[in-house]
Amino acid sequence: MAERRCIFCGRLADIGMNALFRLPPDHRRVPDDIYRRYAESRGIYGISTMMPDVCGRSSPDFGAMSSEDGKPVLITKTGRITDILVCPSCHNELYRDTDDASVHTAVVFGTAGSGKTTLILTLTESCVTRQFSSDNHYRYILNEEIYDGHDLTEAAHKSVAGTAPADLREPVAIYRVSEASSDEKVVCDVLHDTSAGDREDDYAVGTALPFASDAAHYVYCIPVDMLSKAVIFGSESEDMLIRRDLYAMTRAFAYSDKTPVLDIVITKFDLAEKCGGAGEDIYNMRDSENALKNYLYSAYPAVREMEPFFSGMRLHTFSAAAAAEDETAVEKLYDALFE
C-alpha cells in the first residue's frame, strides 16, 4: 500500500484506494459555517478564508479514480479533475512523496529567546533565496503562501533584528531536487518550530507536537551568552532548566519506536567574544567539537545525563548575524542536519 507521511500531523496517509483529494476552491459543497466549526474543532479560530472541500472514495461527489504518470487523479461526478492529495486526518496537503519522515524532519526546541525561529528562518532563507554556491542542488521552499521569496528574506532579517514572530505555527518545508535543471522532487526537508506551551504534559505533547514522534533530529538551541557564564557561576538553575527541557524532548518520542539524534546548536555565536565569562574560550573552541562537548558537559551535567536517551549527540555553532557574510557556516549546519 502506497503511503505518504503528512508533515503537519505526522500520520501515514494512504494514497492508494482510500486517498483523499482536495477539490478546486470553486467547488464548495459544504456550507461555510460547517467549515468554521470544523476549523475551530482543530484549534483554528477566527479564520477569514474557508478551507477548500475534499473528496474521497466515500464522498457523495466521487466519480472515478485513475492514474496519470503513476500519480493518482480523482474525477468528480461533475467532471472536475484534481490530483492534489490531502491527509485524511488533518486535511492538509501531502507534500512528501514517501512515508520516510525519519531522516528529513527536524524539530527545533529551546528556551524562550534562544533563537529557534531565527535559526529556522535563516536556514531557510540562506538555502532557498540565495542558494548555496557549492552544490548544484536546487532548493525551493514549499509553503510559499506564507514565506514567499520576498517575505522570507524580510522575515529572516526581522528575526535577526529581534522583531520576528514569536513562533512559526506552520512547519517550513524545503524541496531539494537533484540538479538545478531538473524539477524532479527528491527530498522534502521539514523544520518544525516549537514553543514552551507545547510541553505542558505528555498528552499535550501528543496533540501539539504529533510530528515530533517520528522526527530524526531534535535540535536544541542554547544561546552562547548563557553557556559562557554557566561554568563560571556554576548556575544550577540553568542546569535544571536544560534538564527539564531535555526531559520534555524525550517525552515527545516516548510513545514511538524512533530515537532521534540530539543536535545541540549554540546560537548567537557571534556574541561569543563580547559576552564575557568564558565566551572567548568557547570562541577558540569553535573548530573542535570534542572540546566544545567537554565544555558543555562541565557546564551542564544534565546534558551528559540525558544524552543516552537519544541515539547520538552532535554539536553545532550558529550565528544568524554572521550568516550574511559567511554562507558556508549555514550550509554546513543544513547539511549536518539533513544529509
Binding site: D201, T207, A248, E305
Partner: protein, 394 residues
C-alpha cells in the same frame, strides 16, 4: 518480582488520582493524536477538581476508548485506535485521568508527606527530589526521574525553580495532584544482590503526595484516601513550635494529625514505614549537652557513613528518649499513631532561615535525603545498609 516486569498479570494499576486498584485489562485508552471536537466546561471543572490546577484552560477533552479484542496488538499495554494508529496512553476507567506510562507494569508505592503548616514540608520535597534526581545514578546505579511530563513541570515550577534558581522559600504547594516518579535500575534483569543486600524491586513507580491541613479540609475524600492508601509516611514536625510548650493546643497540627489518623486507621497504630522528621532541632533543648552534640554537623557526618540501620536507629532512639521526657504529649501521640518497629525519628537542624525580603539562607543538611532513602529501603527498592550519603550544597 522483577522477572515479571511488563507482564500483564504481575502488578495491578493504582490510579494516582482516585486510588482505585484494577487489573491491566480494565484500563481505558486515549486517542493520543485526537481530541474531542468541543471544549466542555464540565471537563475543565473536573480537571480543576482532580488536578487542582487551572492551567488547562481551553483544553479539549481527550477521546477515550476500550481496547478491542481484534485490534491486532497482542499485549494489553497498547491498543489500536479507530484510525488504525497505536495508542500507548492509558487512562483510569474510574476517573479518566491519564495514567503514568509505567502504571501496571511495575510495583507501585505511594508516600504521603505531611506536616504542620510551617514545618518546611515543601522544602523537604524539593531538596529530596532535586538531589535524588541527580545523585541516584552515581550513588546507586539507578535512575530516579519524573514518570510524566506533568510531574516534571510541576516539580520544576513549584518546588525546584523557586528554591534553587531564585533562592526563595517554596510556597506551600500542597496539591491533590501527586508527584509521580519512577525508579529504575538500568540493565538489571533480575532481582539482584546489591552489596550483599537483596533488592526486591529493580524498578518501581512512586507517588508522592504533599498533604497539609488545608488540603484535608478542602478535599477530604482525596486527602484521606491518599493517607489510607499510602505505603509510607514522611511526617515533618516543627520541633521549635512543639518544644516551648507541651500544650497540644499550642501546636494544633498534632491534634489534627491524631484525629485524621484515628479516623482512617482506628485506634491501632499504623504499621507502615513512617519517617518522623523533626526539623529545627538546633533551636531546642540547647541546655542538653548530648542533644547539642548529636545535632552538630560533625556528629551528623560521622553518623552518615553508617546509614541507615544501625547508626540511624541509635540516633533515633536517643532522640526518642529526649522526646519522651521533654515533649511527652508529642511523644505519646506519635507512638500511638505509628508502630515503633516501623517508624524512625530523624532529627534535623533548621533547613532554611527565611529572611525579611522573602529569600532564604539554606543550611547544609543531610538527613532529609536519608529519611527518604530509608523509606525506599523499607519498600525493598533500595538496599537496607547503604553507605551513600548526599549533601545539599547551594
Amino acid at each position: 518480582m522483577n522477572n515479571n516486569r511488563y507482564s500483564e498479570d504481575a502488578y495491578e494499576i493504582v490510579c494516582p488520582y482516585c486510588f482505585k486498584r484494577y487489573s491491566n485489562y480494565n484500563a481505558l485508552f486515549v486517542d493520543y493524536r485526537n481530541t474531542a471536537e468541543e471544549v466542555y466546561p464540565e471537563y475543565e471543572e473536573y480537571l480543576k477538581y482532580f488536578l487542582g490546577t487551572e492551567a488547562y484552560g481551553g483544553r479539549k477533552m481527550p477521546l477515550y476508548f476500550r481496547k478491542r479484542a481484534n485490534d491486532g496488538i497482542p499485549n494489553v499495554f497498547a491498543a489500536g485506535t479507530e484510525t488504525d494508529e497505536v495508542s500507548y496512553v492509558r487512562a483510569c476507567p474510574h476517573c479518566c485521568n491519564i495514567l503514568p506510562a509505567l502504571a501496571g507494569k511495575v510495583k507501585t508505592f505511594s508516600v504521603v508527606v505531611t506536616g504542620s503548616d510551617d514545618a518546611e514540608r515543601s522544602f523537604y520535597i524539593a531538596s529530596v527530589l532535586h538531589r535524588l534526581n541527580r545523585d541516584m545514578m552515581s550513588g546507586f546505579g539507578a535512575s530516579f526521574m519524573p514518570a510524566d511530563l506533568k510531574t516534571a513541570n510541576m516539580f520544576f515550577e513549584q518546588y525546584e525553580e523557586p528554591l534553587y534558581a531564585s533562592g526563595l522559600v517554596p510556597e506551600a504547594a500542597a496539591s491533590i495532584s501527586p508527584l509521580v516518579y519512577e525508579f529504575n535500575r538500568i540493565g538489571a534483569a533480575a532481582p539482584e544482590e546489591w552489596k550483599g543486600n537483596v533488592v526486591t524491586y529493580n524498578s518501581a513507580l512512586l507517588y508522592i503526595y504533599n498533604i497539609d491541613r488545608d488540603l484535608c479540609e478542602r478535599y477530604p475524600m482525596i486527602a484521606y484516601n491518599a493517607i489510607a492508601q499510602a505505603n509510607g509516611f514522611a511526617v515533618i514536625s516543627d520541633l521549635a513550635e512543639a518544644a516551648p510548650s507541651d500544650d497540644p493546643a499550642y501546636d494544633p497540627w498534632l491534634g489534627y494529625l491524631t484525629d485524621t489518623f484515628r479516623r482512617i486507621f482506628g485506634s491501632s497504630p499504623a504499621e507502615r514505614p513512617a519517617a518522623l522528621i523533626m526539623t529545627k532541632a538546633d533551636k531546642v533543648f540547647t541546655d542538653d549537652r548530648k542533644w547539642t552534640a548529636m545535632i552538630k554537623t560533625d556528629a551528623a557526618d560521622k553518623a552518615e557513613k553508617l546509614f541507615p540501620t544501625s547508626a540511624y536507629r541509635s540516633r533515633s532512639d536517643k532522640a526518642e528518649a529526649v522526646f519522651r521526657t521533654r515533649i511527652p504529649s508529642h511523644y505519646s501521640a506519635y507512638s500511638a499513631l505509628f508502630a515503633k518497629e516501623s517508624s524512625m525519628y530523624f532529627t534535623e537542624r533548621t533547613l532554611f532561615e527565611p529572611k525579611d525580603d522573602g529569600t532564604a539562607v539554606i543550611n547544609d543538611c543531610k538527613v532529609t535525603e536519608a529519611s527518604f532513602e530509608w523509606l525506599l529501603s523499607r519498600f525493598s527498592v533500595l538496599p537496607e545498609s547503604v553507605t551513600k550519603s548526599f549533601t545539599i550544597t547551594m
